[in-house]
């Protein structure tokens, strides 16, 4: 791959046709990363070429601006870089090596206060250019950025990244630490990350005879009168209409479904009767009727 940097553009000319190029470009368009420089796809002598344009007024080289940044601004830049690595890899097909993190090619948008970089739709050729690996580029860029911090913060953050490169820390942990060190952008960006939370379902009954609370998490949850078999027992004193094995609540990814087990007095969700052995999704604030016992559904999110 040949990389050429001019004042207002970076171009990548690929030696060999890459079989993933089309699909890769499709993924880049689909993901539309906020930190990605706009690009144009062309051909040069039958080879694929990507040209990333830089608007020199609003978007400038980070290297030319960073000496005027506050410590908080610099930590924001580090946060954005690691955030972008995490976001790119979320897709599953793109890899971190797609992000062109060479120091001179990292830009800064003065209006949105984002970093801007080239992201490539290929991996193989981006892994090593001129004998320098992606990781070496990234390490060098991070070092140069960190060098503008105070001695104390430099040591703290360098230690953080050493752990990362040694495989002893993850992107999420780095992001958490940078937040703790006073990052400004975390709130905005963290909402774009897939929430690492787990759901639990609460079934709440409050009425004559008392109160019942069932909590369903990852395992199948059988509701009925049978003390030996049911996970959620509805005592006979409360209702004789509930069958011994009445219905089953099951979790699928972060959603919950209920199945009627051919009960005598049926299972309903929001008044709709579920046919025997069929499933229906349970959502927050739904009413689950197990015979004559009505539960209110509460879906809760907890940290993983």
């Amino acid at each position: 791959m040949i990389v050429k940097t001019k004042e207002n553009q970076i171009s990548f000319l690929f030696y060999e046709p890459d079989p993933f190029f089309d699909m890769g470009c499709g993924i880049l368009e689909q993901e539309n990363f906020a930190q990605m420089l706009p690009y144009k796809r062309t051909q040069q002598n039958g080879r694929e070429k990507l040209v990333f344009k830089i608007d020199g007024k609003r978007i400038v080289k980070l290297a030319n601006k960073i000496q005027n940044f506050s410590e908080r601004d610099i930590i924001d830049v580090l946060y954005e870089m690691i955030f972008l690595v995490k976001k790119v890899e979320e897709n599953g097909f793109l890899k971190r090596e797609c992000i062109w993190f060479q120091y001179d090619s990292v830009y800064y948008d003065k209006n949105s206060r984002d970093i801007k970089v080239a992201i490539l739709p290929v991996i193989k050729e981006a892994q090593s250019v001129d004998g320098v690996s992606w990781r070496e580029h990234m390490e060098k860029t991070l070092s140069q950025i960190i060098s503008f911090l105070s001695k104390e913060k430099t040591a703290q953050i360098q230690n953080l990244f050493s752990q990362f490169w040694a495989g002893k820390s993850t992107e999420s942990k780095i992001l958490d630490e940078l937040e703790r060190l006073g990052c400004n952008v975390s709130g905005v960006l963290s909402r774009q990350l897939v929430l690492q939370k787990e759901t639990i379902l609460e079934l709440i009954y409050s009425g004559r005879g008392g109160r019942i609370l069932f909590a369903v998490n990852n395992n199948d949850f059988l509701i009925g009168r049978d003390v030996a078999m049911a996970d959620g027992v509805i005592p006979e004193e409360l209702s004789k209409a509930v069958s011994r094995k009445h219905c089953l609540v099951s979790k699928m990814q972060d959603k919950y479904f209920v199945q009627d087990l051919e009960s005598v007095n049926r299972t309903l969700v929001n008044g709709i009767m579920i046919p025997p052995y069929e499933w229906m999704e349970l959502e927050d604030n739904d009413i689950l009727s197990v015979a004559d016992i009505e539960f209110r559904i509460k879906k809760k999110y907890i940290d993983k």
Binding site: P19, D22, G26, F93, P275, M280, E281
Partner: protein, 149 residues
């Protein structure tokens, strides 16, 4: 919406489908096919060629991507990603295309089952597929393959 669970391939693969779909017969073994009464929604499950899960996965999905782009009229792929369902990785493509003048929305899921491709297609005829996306998500999330497969 009610759903029913189906157990396929000697009960080693499980999927949950809306009750409005009924199973249709196909002349081919190792293929399953359901359709709604108005034939607007179809679900199709089959095993494909041999595939090593770790090495060939990306290449195989890329081949399908190129093939669809070549063979389907007005093919527009608006989503490609890997997806984890019940601990297994799948490649997913969502695309629109045209056939015999009708617009189609398709979700194509590629997984591995016993060293071969497992292909799941959910297809919706017409432009109003967005109302049913939540149902299609539930179908995809329900796919389970027995542990030892």
């Amino acid at each position: 919406m009610f759903y029913k669970k189906y157990f396929l391939f000697d009960e080693e693969v499980e999927i949950m489908l809306p009750s409005i779909l009924t199973a249709a017969t196909t002349p081919f073994p190792l293929q399953y096919y359901w359709t709604s009464q108005d034939e607007k929604i179809t679900v199709y499950i089959t095993r494909g060629g041999s595939m090593d899960a770790t090495e060939e996965f990306d290449t195989r999905l890329n081949e399908y991507y190129k093939r669809f782009g070549r063979d389907f009229s007005r093919f527009v792929c608006n989503h490609i990603a890997k997806r984890k369902i019940n601990g297994r990785s799948y490649g997913e493509m969502r695309y629109t295309s045209y056939m015999m003048g009708y617009p189609f929305f398709t979700i194509f899921l590629l997984g591995t089952y016993k060293a071969r491709e497992l292909l799941i297609l959910i297809q919706h005829v017409g432009n109003e597929f967005e109302e049913d996306l939540h149902i299609f998500e539930n179908v995809l999330d329900s796919v389970k393959i027995a542990r030892n497969c």
